[in-house]
Symmetry: C2
Subunit: 228 residues, 2 copies
C-alpha cells in the first residue's frame, strides 16, 4: 500500500480585496468530495504521464485557476500520516507543494466561480487537511525570499516604476518602507536596470521605468537554479 502522491500549489497574487485595498491574495478551490467535503483547499492533483514535478504543478495551476504562473518554486513535501485529520485514515496522501506568483493583470482576469474563490492571505478560513499550515509556511518563505531574491518580479510586468516595486515589497512585508533607502538598496543590488523610458500620463513628475537585469544570475536557489 504505497501512499498516494499529489502536487498542490499555493498561488499568490496582489489584488484588491473586498475593502478595495491591494493585498496579498490566493485562490482556493472548494472540495467536492470527502474527506473535507465543502471546505476550501489548495488547488492540486495527481502527477500524470512523464511530466516533471514542476510541470505537474504548473499544469494543475493552469487547469484549476486559468492562471499562468510568473514564478514557480517547490515549497515542501508534506507526508505526515495524520495530516488528513478528522476523517478515518482512509488513504495516505503525500503532497509535494509548490508556490507560485502570478502578475496583477493576470490575476484580475482569473475566473472566479462557485468552486474557486480568492482569499486574503492573512485572513483565511479553516482549510481542508493541513493546508492552513502549508499556506503559513509559503507566506513565510515568500516574505523571507523577497529580501534576497527577485521574486517581487513575479508580481510585476516587464517594466515597472520604483514606486510599483516598492509597493510590492510593502504589501508582501506588511510594513511601509522608506522611499530613499529602498531605492538605494535596490540600486546597489544591481538587480534592476533603468530602461531610459518614463511612465507618462500622471499629473505629476513622470517616474522612470526599470526592468530586471536578466544578465545577472542570482544564486537564490543554489544549484537548483539550473532547474529541476
Amino acid at each position: 500500500m504505497q501512499p498516494t502522491l499529489a502536487v498542490s500549489t499555493v498561488i499568490f497574487a496582489l489584488r484588491a480585496d473586498k475593502t478595495g485595498k491591494k493585498s496579498l491574495m490566493l485562490p482556493l478551490v472548494k472540495r467536492i468530495r470527502e474527506p473535507h467535503l465543502g471546505k476550501w483547499a489548495l488547488p492540486g492533483g495527481p502527477i500524470v504521464g512523464v511530466e516533471s514535478l514542476e510541470d505537474a504543478a504548473g499544469r494543475n495551476l493552469r487547469e484549476t485557476t486559468g492562471l499562468e504562473p510568473r514564478y514557480l518554486e517547490q515549497l515542501y513535501s508534506f507526508g505526515n500520516p495524520d495530516r488528513s485529520t478528522g476523517q478515518e485514515i482512509s488513504e495516505r496522501v503525500i503532497s509535494i507543494v509548490y508556490w507560485a506568483l502570478v502578475g496583477a493583470t493576470e490575476a484580475d482576469r482569473a475566473f472566479e466561480s462557485e468552486n474557486v474563490h480568492w482569499f486574503a492571505a492573512d485572513c483565511l478560513p479553516e482549510l481542508a487537511f493541513d493546508h492552513n499550515q502549508i499556506v503559513e509556511y509559503a507566506l513565510w518563505r515568500l516574505r523571507a525570499k523577497v529580501n534576497y531574491s527577485r521574486v517581487a518580479h513575479g508580481f510585476l510586468g516587464e517594466e515597472f516604476t520604483m514606486a510599483e516595486l516598492r509597493e510590492v515589497y510593502e504589501i508582501v512585508l506588511g510594513k511601509p518602507l522608506d522611499k530613499g533607502n529602498f531605492r538605494r538598496s535596490v540600486e546597489a543590488s544591481g538587480a534592476i536596470l533603468a530602461t531610459g523610458r518614463v511612465q507618462a500620463g500622471g499629473s505629476h513628475r513622470p517616474p522612470a521605468l526599470y526592468t530586471y537585469d536578466k544578465t545577472r544570475s542570482l544564486a537564490d536557489r543554489g544549484p537548483l537554479n539550473k532547474s529541476n
Copy 2:
C-alpha cells in the same frame, strides 16, 4: 502507473579524511542492483507503515549506516522523469531527500564496509542517478544555513569551546574566520550560553565551555519548526 516513492538522506559529519585533516564527509552506499549497479549512492529506501517522512529518513539512516542523526531536515523532492539517466526508463522514482548531521564521536564509530564508505564532500566520484546534484544542493543549504541558524550544533557535543565551534564553521565554509570577530558575532546572536566551566587538560590557557541556549527558539525553518 504511479511513480515509486523513496526517501534518501545526505548525511554530513566532520571527520578525518585520508590526509588526516578534519573535513566535511558523507557516507555513501554501493548499489547492489540495476540501475547503476556498482556506483555509489545516497542511502535511501521506501516509506513503510505509518511513519512520517522524517521518521522514514531517520530510520533509513540508522539502518544503513548505524548512525544517530543530531539534526534532520527535509532538503527537496526530486522527481524529474529523466533522473535515472543511462538505463532504460524502467520505473519512475520520486525521491524525497533529507539532510542530516551527525556528531564527530558518532561518526567515528560508524561502521564502514565493502558497501558503505565515507567520502570527502568536495571530492566525490560520479554517483548514481542525480545524486551528485543532490549532494551539491545539500552542501549549498548547509553552508547557507550555518550562517543564520544553529545547525553547527549538530556537529558538536553538549558542551564545546569557542575554538571548536569556530572550527566547525571554518570547515563547513572552507575558509578561516577571525577569532575575535567570530566570538563577537556568536555572542551577539545570543544563541549560546557560557556554562561557567572550563576545559582543563591542555598545556595552555583553559578555554571556557559553552552550550546552546535551548530556551531561545529560532525561526530558521519558519512555521515548520513545530515539526512536520
